[in-house]
Subunit: 280 residues, 4 copies
């Protein structure tokens, strides 16, 4: 597995370039940054050179297409997707991810039909450029009732959705926080085939009843109570070898500098990988 | 367009053979009967001969696969589908239909995902045998709250579902009662391309507020208040040339004999087609 | 049906704007021009205004994606497709077409597999913007052996390919010259459902043995020996109501001015539509 | 990886039951037998019990659908597929395989289009029952010209075909003989993701120029010159954990009894797995 960083939890980053430098400095192997702005700024060669220089690859880009909005907005986003996918491909990135809100304001069955068609269209475009689409189910209980109607939030529902979309390059983004807040154990991971997992997020949860764990109340790996050792071992055992990227959503920006936060993240990763008995 | 009959509204029929005979006797051109039992009883040649003798074709078979049930039941039904499709094909039938309950007990978004995948699987099997799958949206207001959660019931939602299923042989079953109870006008029909319509049901509604029109409170064509003239003309104008099959769901079986009911149906069709100015 | 023009056969046109003006001047209702360059030059409002002013719509854009080339070139083209599709959509165009060379240099089975996947990807993008993809089979005998291996050139093969691609927005571009040079009669057209036809080309063939009719030896409608009356009537009878666009490929640019050629084209259309007994 | 047997190379077997018994007796973990006839003879419980008793699972069933024949024959086969798939599923089998003839008599591009659609239909049915479809490319040189036109025979072409079929449950059957006769090395295997491999065949080739290795001239593993150690190690390294099933096609039935041949097979597997340094 690759140790990865996202911008979430890294404080006031000046941009993707800083994240790449910090990742390299503290021994991370992948970063989740969007490829197109990087190339627009540095050129394809420059961007590839920067990644090489710091020994990191791009783990995943984010799906920028607004698939939850009106059709016009969706189509505008779809217009930009091939450029983003081509940029990712040119830097060797093979993943693109989006998350699923567990509740929505619009009628859930109708929205599911629309979103299924839209995500299939996105997956087809991404697939042309060799990129998989990962869907992240979102577990925190408070979000299940935040909007008017429940949508979906379990791994099983998300796998059923992946089957409904029906493209071979669609799978899960498995996030430790959502795995924990939906009450899953390691057997749930062991029931998966590794190829169903497009991407992995790691983070930790405070010692509060699981129903009270807030989406933006996440901790750095090893600082909380999630069984990350079981999480990582189950992923390793089923053969997952992709990135495990830290994503720490918090109510307020942490006070430390990005460099200090990267150092803290490294300590967390060292800790949980050591506890898991997994090679670093 | 072909004038058609279904068993619904024909009283205590002894079976498909009687429906075929009555259809022929009263000038109907198609019947909705399942092809497989007919062939199992009469042989393929016998069944084709019976249809020929009475000058009728099979408009549509019903989708017998339980796509709303548990997975085991769904798969059992799917096992029988190719035989049913092959039987239909051997008698020249190119349509298979199912209806959508406007409310359900299970979680709507999750069920939509499962049902999308299942109906795609059904459509693929049907498509191999040259058969289209028609989805009937169901309009009566009381059914929208009959089960725990709203599902979908409008034409627009159903078209979005057809797009989500994503197979080229899936379209609408347009039923006059559901067209009426969902408040559509002729412009809604005129907005469709004919090929999106797999099958059509005709019937009429009592003179009560539309919110009170019950699913099993239907009348024979021309005996109620639906603008069937507009309905038929809009279908004709967009180029629909398939069956228009009478389907009369009632709370109690009508007292008349099947022969009397077929005669009454013929009178209704004569009436509404004449009013519509459409050739008979 | 809509009387349409393409640039082929119109001489030394200065561009799409001139074609639009000439179409309007001589009573044509559609033109095949690419929407994106028009919008880039005139703005969306300007382009729409120009079409309105001359009473013409865009019949079809051309598929610019190089689906016969190497993968890199294909992907570059795919990157531009959403912009082209969005431009077409914004001007009300719902068709995009490409042709199939009847022979190829690469191994035919392998190329068919690659092209099937690529055209599905194109069709998915186009479909998102409400646009259908028409595949034109190409009949002239000399092209069947022009490259090393035979590929496909009959209507039946092309329909089988449409089924292999498997997207609901893919169908045929039916060209009178290819209909004629593949030896089809009106029954072949009558066997089609109108929705399988995305677009139609009209032109005529010289009075030479059909095996000697050259792809770039086409005549204006009514100046040759193709049974255009049968062709148009069959299309009309199955319910085709889209554009019938003139496409005249010739070895040398005709000597007349675009205006004279548009006038000559109008005379041809008047002639063949009158012979066919079809409303103008 | 699971050590597996097929009937090919086991002499005059009385049927699937004998293969199961011999597999168990000589330490094999999977057998390739069709599930439906086994269940028809022994009942589902009896069949499952027999497999359990001998400690073997079913590696793969064969695709019985005639996808290379005329449409009527194809559809007849498709009618039986759900029963076969359901039977396989009920015994825990998740694979179904078919092979690709490297040359054919019909026009290759057209046949590729037809076969793509047919295999997609088969894959959809199989997928409903949780079964993957493996396509076996066939390498021996003499078969490339045995029928009139070349079709496809390389791994790369087959992967392109898998992409054209476009269903997520379709992948490769990788056979050591075809890997060898198409000139592939271990890097070709290492370029694959394990999930693209549905099933594996093992066997060996005589010490003749590779162009002269006949399809029915195969040897038992370890008795020939194929680098089976490299083959197995590459499969292991990319994470393949499914069956590796012996398939020995010979011009004449071997003279030994099935028991002797199973013993000889066991010796071959012991030998090549030991050389490969892989756990037994």
């Amino acid at each position: 597995m690759l140790r990865g960083l996202t911008g979430a939890g890294m404080g006031a980053l000046s941009g993707g370039e800083e994240l790449i430098r910090l990742a390299g400095k503290y021994g991370f192997q992948s970063v989740d940054v969007d490829a197109l702005p990087l190339i627009e700024k540095l050129g394809e060669e420059g961007a590839a050179g920067l990644l090489d220089e710091h020994g990191v690859s791009i783990g995943s880009i984010g799906l920028s297409v607004q698939w939850r909005a009106g059709e016009a907005e969706f189509l505008e986003g779809l217009q930009r997707l091939p450029d983003q996918a081509a940029a990712a491909r040119s830097l060797g990135c093979t993943r693109c991810c989006t998350y699923i809100l567990p509740s929505i304001d619009s009628a859930p069955a109708h929205f599911m039909a629309i979103a299924t068609r839209r995500l299939r269209q996105c997956a087809t475009v991404l697939g042309a450029y060799g990129i998989s689409l990962g869907l992240e189910f979102v577990g925190p209980h408070h979000l299940r009732t935040h909007w008017r109607h429940p949508f979906i939030w379990t791994m099983e529902e998300t796998l059923d959705w992946v089957a409904a979309i029906g493209e071979s390059n669609v799978g899960l983004l498995l996030d430790a926080y959502h795995w924990y807040t939906t009450g899953l154990g390691t057997d749930a991971i062991r029931s998966l085939r590794a190829e169903r997992i497009v991407h992995v997020h790691i983070n930790d949860a405070p010692d509060v009843p699981v129903e009270q764990a807030l989406d933006n109340g996440r901790l750095y790996p090893g600082e909380g109570i999630i069984d990350l050792s079981g999480f990582l071992n189950a992923l390793h055992d089923i053969g997952y070898r992709g990135p495990v990227a830290q994503e720490i959503l918090t109510a307020e920006q942490p006070a430390e500098s990005p460099d200090q936060l990267a150092q803290r993240s490294k300590a967390g990763f060292d800790n949980v990988f050591a506890l898991a008995g997994l090679p670093y």
